[in-house]
Amino acid sequence: MSVKTLTINNIPVAAEQGKTILEAAKESGIHIPTLCYLEGVSPAAACRVCLVEIEGSNKLQPACVTQVAEGMVIYTDTPKLQQYRRMDIELLFAEGNHVCAVCVANGNCELQDLAVEVGMDHSRFPYRFPDRSVDVSHPQFGIDHNRCILCTRCVRVCDEIEGAHVWDVANRGENCYIVSGLHQPWGEVDACTSCGKCVDACPTGSIFRKGTTTDEKSRDRAKLEFLVNAREKHEWTR
């Protein structure tokens, strides 16, 4: 296995061949913000929050899927990236109905954290106030589409880790939404094992445990990591 040397924000970094820029940065303690990325499932490269600048490339590249190469010169926090990240988060807030004050995930929401991180205190784009639904047909869980940012973490975790494939994306463009089963109410989907992995995976308050109220959503993210480790490396301790 060969090792590649590169620099991230002028800090020299050594990373194994085949690692992504995101992994290499993490190992070296360099923070790159992410949103749709979830360790243990395949990357989607959809949120565009982890885009970085690479010298010699005229395109911004997503850190979560771009592999390291010898001599790469990477910048993760240039003024341009800061500006684009902020716009990206603003677009997300304007697109859905995010009312933090009454959300189960308030104070424990990755979207909210990102808004703070990129310094977004309001959206410069007008709010769209889409008409979206809530599905509480499942005995234990609920999904509030108003808070969904279409990161597809729930889709991937259910398909790739639980193997149930309850979720998928329906429709196109701004009309996209997360659909359960064959477009059935969640509670009627036989494939659902009620494992709750999607609750743990969801970065916002979109998928939640019934009975939780404002600010009460907590996630057991370590469970996903444990499961993946257990399967891939056969380490069965937590």
Binding site: A44, A45, A46, C47, R48, L51, K59, L60, P62, V65, Q83, Y84, M87, D88, L91, L92, A94, E95, R124, F125, P126, R128, I149, L150, T152, D168, V169, N171, R172, G173, E174, N175, C176
Partner: protein, 543 residues
């Protein structure tokens, strides 16, 4: 099937055609069919029988005769008369004119002027058989030399030689990007596919895909090629398969092209019957099969990774590249994906040689390009011109300018991914680089002419509406950004916008362009940026 049999079929077909003194070619491509070509053809056939001319006159349906704006088109061979806007009840007049000359002029449809630049400046290469042969009969394709190049390639050339020939020709992808075709072929040829349980460590499977998803508003070049000369695509794909080591091909056609699908199906069936597709073609070790996959009409499925996902039966979502399809495409195997028109160029390159091909066009862009000329222009239709023809020649001379003497303001190329060329740049030669420099692109070949009356901000909004509706919704900048861009353009057009909205429009355009995942989002702001650049005053006037 061997070469002798192939030549024999061709000879028989030519003999059959020569038994009749006159061939009346009636266009049966989708454009003319929609203006009643089917009835015209039937009436012509009836008129021939009524006049007792069955022994000397043949009426046949052919592919596109180019002048699509003036359908139904009927051409008389050998005297070369092209009748335009033929109505069903004019059929008998056309037949009687064959024997009596055109003394009953008023009963005859108008004739096209064959010396008009619209025809004179064309250089048919991709369209060489279009409008000449019946696309539903393989014998007619064989009669004009069809499948002989495939035989030549299989018998006389190594796959490396084929790739070398394509590389030397300078052919570039006609799907929009202009990627050198030879280089793409060479890359896929060098790839090793992952071993499968049945094929451990072997060369494994590779695929050839023909991208016939043509979704740009105003573009119909690929459709015409498929409807007019489907066998040319099959032969081109088979040659590509031989060159890169693939024995399976898919043609991905959009469901909105039912006639193209029907003719392709027929063509594949006929080619299979003559063993020109299938196992051990021309008794060589080369197998090649082709299947059709019908898209459900999403523009984004023209993007190569989304298209591959769609063939695999998944949702048509683009995925990040690399890995490119050349490395990991259909079902993870190395895959060559080219546009319809790209494949249509293969046969003439092999036949006439790369030197000949590369002598056509400009320094960086070789060969010809088919454009679908539409919009505010007198002559609409399909044109094939050598690269390097100026925009002025295309719009003013061939297109005949704006009807009723209006002034041309700009031409939009590249559809929703492109931009406009304002009238002051009409002396620009059409090639990949020159168009990019102007902030637009060749695209797949739609050319929409706009006159002085056209509101450019409205045009920008039209394309943004298109992209907003066609975004797959996977990535944030494209899904949510196009919505906001559309809202900003509407705000402008409703005269509710101010200077800061205009600044936001521009800033968001760059953001969407630079951060979107696939080409759709990356190019969706182009019509806005291009009109902002050349027609800024129109935006300012709305504030």
């Amino acid at each position: 099937m061997d070469l002798e049999e192939l030549l024999e079929i061709g000879q028989q077909e030519r003999d059959r055609q020569q038994q009749k003194k006159t061939r009346i070619r009636c266009c049966t491509a989708a454009g003319c069919l929609s203006s009643g070509a089917e009835t015209v053809k039937n009436n012509l056939e009836i008129a021939v029988i009524e006049a007792g001319l069955e022994d000397s006159v043949e009426v046949c349906g052919v592919g596109c005769l180019r002048f699509c704006g003036r359908g139904t088109l009927v051409e008389i061979d050998p005297n070369g008369i092209l009748y335009e806007e033929v109505l069903p009840d004019q059929a008998s007049g056309i037949i009687s004119a064959l024997s009596e000359g055109d003394k009953n002029r008023e009963e005859l449809p108008r004739q096209s002027d064959r010396n008009h630049p619209f025809f004179a400046l064309q250089m048919p290469l991709v369209l060489e058989n279009s409008g000449k042969i019946n696309p539903e009969r393989i014998e007619e394709y064989i009669a004009v030399g069809g499948y002989q190049r495939l035989h030549h390639v299989l018998m006389e050339m190594t796959s490396a030689e084929v790739i070398e020939e394509i590389s030397k020709s300078g052919l570039r992808g006609r799907g929009g990007g202009g990627y050198p075709t030879g280089l793409k072929w060479a890359t896929v040829a060098k790839m090793r596919s992952p071993p499968t349980p049945l094929n451990k460590g072997g060369v494994g499977q590779k695929y050839v895909i023909c991208n016939a998803d043509e979704g740009d508003p105003g573009a119909f070049m690929d459709r015409s090629v498929l409807e007019s000369d489907p066998h040319r695509i099959l032969e081109g794909m088979a040659i590509a398969g031989y060159a890169i080591g693939a024995n399976y091909g898919y043609i991905y056609v959009r469901a909105e092209y039912p006639l193209a699908i029907k003719r392709l199906e027929k063509a594949i069936q006929q080619a299979k019957k003559y063993e020109l597709l299938g196992s051990q073609i021309f008794d060589s070790p080369f197998d090649f099969k082709i299947d059709i996959r019908v898209g459900a009409g999403a523009f984004v499925c023209g993007e190569e990774t989304a298209l591959i996902g769609s063939i695999e039966g998944k949702r048509g979502n683009p995925r990040p590249r690399p890995p490119y399809p050349a490395e990991s495409g259909l079902w993870g195997c190395p895959t060559l994906i080219n546009n319809v028109e790209t494949f249509a160029n293969i046969v003439p390159i092999i036949r006439e040689g790369s030197d000949w091909y590369s002598s056509i066009g400009t320094e960086t862009s070789k060969g010809t390009k088919v454009f679908a000329l539409t919009g505010k222009v007198s002559n609409t239709g399909l044109i094939e011109v050598p690269m390097g023809t100026t925009v002025r020649q295309i719009v003013a001379e061939m297109g005949g300018g704006v009807p009723d003497g209006g002034k041309v303001k700009a031409v939009q190329t590249g559809g929703p991914s492109g931009g406009c060329i304002p009238a002051e740049f009409f002396d620009t030669p059409v090639d990949y680089e020159s168009l990019l420099k102007l902030g637009t692109m060749m695209g797949s070949g739609g050319a929409i002419v706009m006159d002085e009356e056209t509101n450019m901000v409205e045009i920008a909004r039209f394309y943004m509406e298109f992209c907003r509706g066609e975004s797959c919704g996977k990535c944030v900048p494209c899904r949510a950004g196009t919505v906001q861009l559309y809202a900003l353009l509407s705000k402008l057009l409703n005269r509710q916008a101010n200077q800061s909205d205009l600044e936001q429009l521009e800033a968001l355009s760059y953001m969407v362009k630079e951060t979107s995942l696939c080409g759709l989002g990356q190019s969706a702001p182009n019509p806005v940026l291009s009109t902002l650049k050349y027609f800024q005053q129109e935006y300012l006037d709305l504030i």
